[in-house]
Amino acid sequence: MLTKPDIEPSGEGAAAQVGEPLVEATGLEVHFGLRGGLFSRFSGGPAGAVRAVDGIDLTLRKGEVLGLVGESGSGKTTLGRTLIGLTKATAGSVSYRGQDITALGERGLRPLRRRLQMVFQDPHASLNPAMDIRTAVGHPLRIHNLVADDREYEARVVDALERVGLTPPERYLGKFPGDLSGGQKQRAVLARAIIAEPELLVADEPISMLDMSVRAKILQLMLDLKRDLDLTYVYVTHDLASAKFFCDTIAIMYLGRIVEYGPTEQVFADPQHPYTEALLAAIPEPDPERALPRELPRGEIPDAARPPMGCAFHPRCPVAVAACGWEARDLRTLLENRWLELAPEAASREKSLFADVESLAADGQSSVAIAPGRGHTPEDVLEYLRHLREEASEAEPREPFWHGVVTMHAENGRAVVEFAPPRDPRLSLIPATGVQVACHLREPVGSTTGT
């Protein structure tokens, strides 16, 4: 991970905020259909879908460097690709200079591809191993018929190679990707990306697969190219430190949604969303002796096909409140974590109170009727749960789960647990900062945006 680059931030960051809107996304959704089992395919029933991008609005201005930051699987790559029409949106729209590109087919997009370029994560895989640099870098010129003859072609390729620092260019023209180092390949990929004079470049973790020693150089090169060629960047990364150095604006993503969105300095100086705070705390120490990447709090990123209710971050959020979307799955996680820590006999004694803990695992249950185990009554279960709640109220840090439990009562031989109705936190502007954040704790007073 790139920690603190020794390069002076170029300083052109905040000033570049004034450009005209270049790309605008509204209500953007990309759901990847899961192949259901044989049965659901025949019956036509709903197979699940991975909600890679799940309702995103953003505006990218000319000259801006927007960072999409989040853990792996949060939908950064998919969002970046959808913004330039490489992945089809399943709902919502993306407009480029006022033109809706989600409505265009592959054929209609082709002329635009010249303007909207992408740099992929793996430079080794991005170049055709059987094509020399001369042909590979200049290919966009041929595709879009931008040169009249071979002389002009050669001149443009040489110019592009010089711009990306592959000098002297003559030395690289005849080489194959296999002859180049990782950093040189990424330079060649950048040369190919800029040769047709694009306006927007989506860079998907462009440095994550490179050696430590060349990462900062490639980022600096990208900044130079932006300055010289008047580019706009979308920079996709899981590395907050490089985003801090590189981006004017940052969008923190979690499970297909933007949870915090604003000017980089502001986001870093005063993170508003608990997830952002956790990410910032997890940035490794600049001191290499102690540079162990710290774990994010409580558990893993959930399955994007079955996102948690309410705020998707609530199962991991240390400060969650009642409306954050508590559900039966969270009770199961709580119980299983507890039983893991207990002695096996004690755990199995407690487990026997429940007929079927797995029944809690289904998603979307904001109220659940728990069947008591053999030889137990619903009252036993309730008593046990109340005991847990009391125990938790004394422990530090407070377990936020119990905020979400509204009532627990016995009904028809079952113990019924009801949770507070879930509410989706909406991105809302924090006054005087320019930062938007999606968290109930930061909502303007009196707002009741619910679902």
Partner: protein
Amino acid sequence: MATTTLPTGPIEPTVSASASRFGGLRRIVSAIREAHGVPKFMLWTGAVISALFVITALFAPLIAPYSFDTYKAHGHNFPKQGSPDGDHWFGTTVQSLDVLSRTIYGARTALEVMVLAVIFSLILGVLLGLLAGYFGGWLDRILVLVMDALFAFPYLLLAIVAGFVFSGISGGGVVTAALSITVVYIPQYFRVVRASALSAREATFVEAARAMGAKPSVVIRKYLFGNVIQSVPVITTMNAADAIGTLAGLGFLGLGIQPTEAAEWGYDLDRAIDDVNAGMWWTCLYPGLAMVIAILGFTLLGEGLNDVLNPTMRRRRIRKVLLPAHTARRTVTAPAQPDVPEGEAVK
């Protein structure tokens, strides 16, 4: 690595360059150069035999004493069923034809049919495989169905049926024989090329080409073709061996090339069957032997190439490293260099 320095000199150390226009072929050539042991032996023996075969075929009119349909010289008819002697080293047939000349000209026919069949099936098989692999969908389904059906058919039977069909159209010449054989081989190219196209289609550089705005035809020609074509040389040499056998099979059944058009080993063998009963061994021995040697040559070449080029079949070689005498106390074993330079492998 130490901390990052100021980005002044952007040049990372260069790896040795070996510029060549044909990136795909380069890999094949370097693999061949590194061949060792049994594969190397097979490769080179096969190559030598195949080369002799090709030379014989090309220069048949210079090498053979007579033409394939000559039955008299200097005003004398050749002896009928004459045993080998000074005038006719391999003897003569029941039609008074010189066996040596027919055997040599047979190589020419075999080469012609082989080359045509390989070219036809290569072009069609590779093209269809690329289209099916890249586009997928219903086109792929239909092609796979047809090709699997062809593949499941006994190959000689398939060639016979195709031979009947084509002889009605184009007569009983070399082209007809080649076309009949082509039908047998298309599915092989199709399968291999489709499989590599399917995996290459997922490669990032194909995606990158699409992101540049390349049309599918450009993607296929410039990005898929070069990477898919590398699996083809092995099948080609294997098919070459097979084509000789299939052609002879057709000729033996009287379905191949008309005897007036060219000399053909299978046809000669068919005619020689009665001679064997009469104690005449030369009419069948020489064409048969020629056939076996030619097939052996191409099979060895194909198997050798397969061993050398197919990375899954290659084992890492353990090579003994001998230290210079003044430092050496003992010999050390070390694994050899990986055969494919890193980063060059296509996913």
